[in-house]
Symmetry: C3
């Protein structure tokens, strides 16, 4: 249990989603289980009809940062969805939606991209995290 990495993925911008995907892949590549818990704007970003859209960037990206990110996409850089999928292919990675967020924003399980494995509550997430690492992104 204790080598599991638990990620509360709250943010809905492409830069932070990409950072979360890269951390997930890095941990999975070293053989560690990763448990990703989607809250708030991340749930919205994982909707099946929105996951491939442009989700913007953190404000400090500025014009230059957003242009650099757009150039990377145009050059074929893996999207964060693809990096999460690669992490799932090589390791033990589960992605769960937060039931409270989904109730609040009237999002159904079926609204989410199939890369999301299921729905759970925060107490379940905390219980599964145990005393292992928790990162909030």
């Amino acid at each position: 249990m204790s080598d599991q990495l638990s990620i509360v993925l709250f943010s809905g911008t492409d830069d932070r989603l990409q950072a979360a995907a890269v951390l997930t892949a890095g941990a999975a590549a070293t053989g560690r289980p990763v448990h990703v818990f989607l809250q708030y704007w991340a749930v919205d970003a994982f909707r099946r009809d929105r996951i491939d859209l442009d989700h913007g960037a953190s404000p400090e990206a500025g014009v230059a940062g957003r242009a650099a990110m757009a150039a990377l996409r145009a050059a074929g850089q893996s999207s964060w969805k693809e990096v999460f999928q690669q992490a799932k292919d090589i390791g033990e990675v589960t992605i769960q939606g937060c039931s409270l967020t989904m109730d609040l924003f009237h999002i159904e399980h079926d609204d989410l991209d199939p890369i999301v494995d299921g729905i759970e509550g925060v107490a379940s997430f905390m219980f599964a995290a145990g005393e292992g690492q928790i990162v909030f992104i």
Copy 2:
């Protein structure tokens, strides 16, 4: 000590404050002590004359996200202050202001809402966190 959850609460927007409150309540509900350390914009949000105001949302909320949050408030959703209070009622939760932030922004202990238990420095916080989980929100 090691099952304590320590939260550095830095953000001052209602969405992130709510996420912090829900994590705190989830951990408290499973019997774990939670130590919340308020820095920067979170200290400002916990001022007694501001804690009940609208503190906005992360930029990615957008118009639709802010409207959804406003609708939830209008429908009587518990505010993050109320969720923190519920967590304190059911478990071992302490909320401390960061002394450095308070010095920097000229905020006195008496300016803070009574839900804040005290003031401490970052070294005290790190010492109390020990090797347990630390989450930065």
Copy 3:
């Protein structure tokens, strides 16, 4: 190993960089090794020709918050670079740039301020973090 604090420093605004520097100094002051891994906008902020510039603040700072931060700078408050340097002077602190970010944004090691010790990949960072604390800022 397990008392090491690992920080993924992703943000590029002065308020969050300062929070990261203060946490680093607080941990170093209590004798703990600290490993800082720069991603995305933090890499940009550590460029030698930009590190001393104004990097703005989180959106919730607002006009009042940015004015308070400007007043602190004018009054001689240590910059986050100085606080990181103090932490390195008193403890075992290493600052590493993320190789993937640097590739993506075409940043060379030589473009970074000398306070950055080296470059590494995310898998190396995760391996070095082991089961110790990881904080994402």
